[in-house]
């Protein structure tokens, strides 16, 4: 544990260092873009004012030697000013921008008591100040954290996440986010998000315009593309033919000419590519490390493993997420049909590797559990509860599912697997009699049997703990629907107890 702590401090330092370097790197990448825009701005301002004389004067000045120097100096000064302003705004409004982009809404304790309690408790365990809580009203299951330091962090979960996960699983996801807040991953991630968004802006605007035109009619889109694109392509050979003459006349002028020809390409393609590469380079192991921290904090890696599997199965369709903020989320939120360009540069490690790493911590998680969680996620995707559903855990969420054939057998199965112990029995954390017991159940306690595991039964206790019980423990079946309701605080648990034969069919 001590080593773990040292590791965390190291990571905090590393993240702070990376954040500073990142801002510098973004500034360097941004400078030509800003210079380009500032140049345009100057010409536009002159034209907009209608001061033709000034416009001519500018043209005169550019052709003259000293005039050129003045022009360059003004452009440089303007660029640096804009850059400083952008950097300030970036720091000041980074998390607000990210929250706005995601469409997150702040929630209070009264609105989401379960989520609030989960976050509150885990914060106590991590010794963190409680972050502000936000909810995205979307059926997709995902979460992220943002903010420049732990004191001003925000934690965002989707409605779908709360509907999909049970309490232990939600705990795992929240712990992952808290770990990222605590070791300053969120600072790095937030700066990256805003930086990438900024550098991707010119490309994004052009793409958005053409998308819009193509939606009107394909001919309009192609028409404008050819109208703008062909002359551009045509000028390239012409420009190249000029380059030789330019260099022959004046080397500096030639360099400047080539530079100004390449600048648009850099602004629209080069800068966003560099931004994506920076992101991939910076965020390599961070998700794995945060997963490990989450397992340490909750002391229950299986929760996070199941949560990741469920989220992988459910996908993130319908989530409003830009390519720039994708790396902040717990699991990759970009749909598989998003632009190739954005998928190549995904900063998320493969989900199955993460699940395997988490499942290997602690006692190990049986593959069947992971598979079931994935299937539960896939079912959730095909039949999600209504977009603005009742609070997570309400039985209404199950009843509200459109497919009654799916819902009814699970409920009867749930009632039939509830037992009352007729003698005291020991609870184990793993299906192994040699493992340390995790608790004692008194005679008369209610349990729900989830599945068999060798000589043991995997059970859910009435106080919401998952544990293993010896198969020989004496118990009697209880046929009370009311018991099923009190034992199951989440519809997804019922999905877990679905009988095996249903999976085959």
């Amino acid at each position: 544990m001590t080593q773990q702590r040292v590791l965390i401090w190291d990571r905090i330092d590393a993240n702070r260092r990376s954040s500073r370097l990142l801002v510098l790197a973004f500034a360097a990448v941004l400078l030509p873009v800003v210079a380009y825009l500032a140049m345009y701005l100057m010409v536009w301002v002159a034209m907009a004012l209608g001061l033709i004389a000034v416009g001519f004067g500018l043209a005169d000045a550019v052709s003259g030697d000293s005039g050129f120097a003045v022009f360059a100096a003004v452009d440089a000064a303007l660029s640096v000013l804009i850059l400083l302003a952008v950097a300030y705004l970036l720091f000041r409004f980074a998390s607000a921008i990210v929250l706005r982009l995601a469409g997150a809404r702040p929630v209070t304790q009264a609105e989401e008591p379960d989520l609030w309690r989960t976050v509150e408790n885990l914060c106590i365990g991590a010794g963190l100040r409680q972050p502000r809580l936000y909810v995205v009203e979307s059926g997709a299951a995902n979460a992220f954290a943002t903010g420049l330091d732990p004191a001003r962090a925000s934690l965002v979960v989707t409605r779908g996440l709360m509907d999909l996960l049970d309490r232990r699983e939600l705990e795992g996801v929240v712990a992952h986010e808290l770990a990222q807040i605590a070791n300053y991953d969120t600072r790095l991630g937030t700066l990256l998000a805003v930086g990438v968004a900024l550098l991707r802006l010119p490309l994004g605007i052009v793409i958005a315009i053409f998308r819009f035109l193509f939606r009107i009619h394909w001919a309009v889109g192609w028409g404008l593309l050819l109208y703008l694109g062909l002359p551009m392509l045509a000028t390239i050979p012409f420009g190249l033919s000029l380059v030789d003459d330019m260099f022959a006349e004046d080397t500096l002028l030639g360099v400047l000419f080539v530079f100004s020809m390449l600048l648009p390409f850099y602004v629209f393609l080069g800068a966003p590519a560099i931004a994506y590469l920076l992101r991939t380079a910076v965020l390599r192991q961070h998700e794995y490390l945060a997963d490990a921290d989450a397992a340490l904090l909750t002391r229950y890696p299986e929760g996070l493993a199941r949560a990741l599997a469920k989220m992988g199965g459910a996908g993130s369709e319908g989530l409003r997420v830009g390519a720039a903020t994708a790396h902040l989320y717990v699991v990759d939120p970009l749909p598989s049909d998003s632009m190739l360009w954005d998928r190549i540069f995904s900063a998320q490690p493969p989900l199955d590797q993460r699940i395997a790493a988490v499942a290997a911590m602690g006692g190990g998680v049986p593959p069947s559990v992971i598979r079931e969680a994935e299937e539960a996620g896939a079912r959730f995707r095909s039949a999600p509860p209504p977009a603005v559903a009742a609070p997570a855990g309400a039985p209404a969420a199950t009843n509200g599912r459109p497919d009654p054939v799916e819902a009814t057998p699970t409920r009867t199965a749930a009632a039939a697997t509830t037992f009352r112990l007729t003698g005291a029995s020991t609870l184990y954390g793993t299906p192994d009699a040699a493992s340390p017991p995790v608790g004692q159940l008194a005679s008369g306690s209610l349990i729900t049997v989830l599945e068999g595991a060798g000589d043991f039964l995997r059970v859910l206790t009435s106080d919401d703990r998952f544990a293993y019980l010896r198969r020989m423990a004496s118990m009697e079946a209880v046929e009370q629907p009311a018991v099923a309701e009190s034992a199951f605080t989440d519809p997804e648990v019922e999905v877990l107890v679905e009988p095996d034969d249903r999976r085959g069919g």
Binding site: N121, I124, A126, G127, A295, R299, A360, G362
Partner: protein
């Protein structure tokens, strides 16, 4: 030659002094962190204790002749409130847990009590506090481990001994409700 030796000696002494000040400050910081973590547990223990009178009154309303159980709970509660050290508090808290378990076992025999919303609310709140105690215990013990490791290892131990840094007590729960987790990394690049 002599002035150089004197300068080197003074330099070394100053260096050692700096290192010692650094170590001392680190130990103080670590000890304060333990204290801070302890206050986190203390708040939750008090919250739990403050729920007890209400709970006892509620149960009494339905099951008045379970006097022994009530006394046991009340006794355990006052022990929690009077506990001085972490070890004492942990012991008292475990006693309270036991007593509450008896109380809830008794409650099982009174269906009306079990159905009363007041009782259910209290039960829910108690389980919330117990979870918070478990989490704050985890955080506290982590800090204690860090602090104890520091003051027991060389060279910190020499300074710790001279300046009266005492080992902090762990807050031990009677049963490990939350299993330990081993974190390992295979190769997944």
């Amino acid at each position: 030659m002599v002035p150089i030796i004197i300068a080197v000696v003074i330099g070394v002494i100053v260096l050692i002094a700096f290192v010692m000040v650094g170590i001392y400050n680190g130990l103080v910081r670590s000890r304060n962190r333990v204290g801070e973590a302890w206050s986190g547990i203390d708040v939750q223990l008090r919250r739990r204790a403050s729920l007890i009178p209400n709970l006892v009154e509620t149960v009494k309303g339905y099951a008045e002749h379970e006097r022994e159980t009530f006394e046991e709970v009340t006794r355990a509660r006052s022990m929690v409130e009077q506990a001085g050290s972490a070890g004492e508090a942990a012991g008292a808290n475990n006693m309270l847990t036991q007593a509450l378990r008896h109380l809830f076992a008794v409650a099982e025999n009174y269906p009306e009590l079990k159905a009363s919303t007041n009782f259910m609310d209290l039960q829910k709140e108690l389980s919330d506090v117990e979870e918070k105690i478990a989490f704050s215990r985890q955080f506290y013990n982590q800090n204690v481990l860090d602090y104890n490791n520091r003051i027991q290892t060389v060279p910190n131990s020499m300074i710790a001994r001279n300046f009266g840094f005492k080992e902090a007590e762990f807050f031990e729960a009677e049963e490990e409700g939350r299993a330990e987790v081993k974190v390992e990394f295979g190769s997944q690049d």
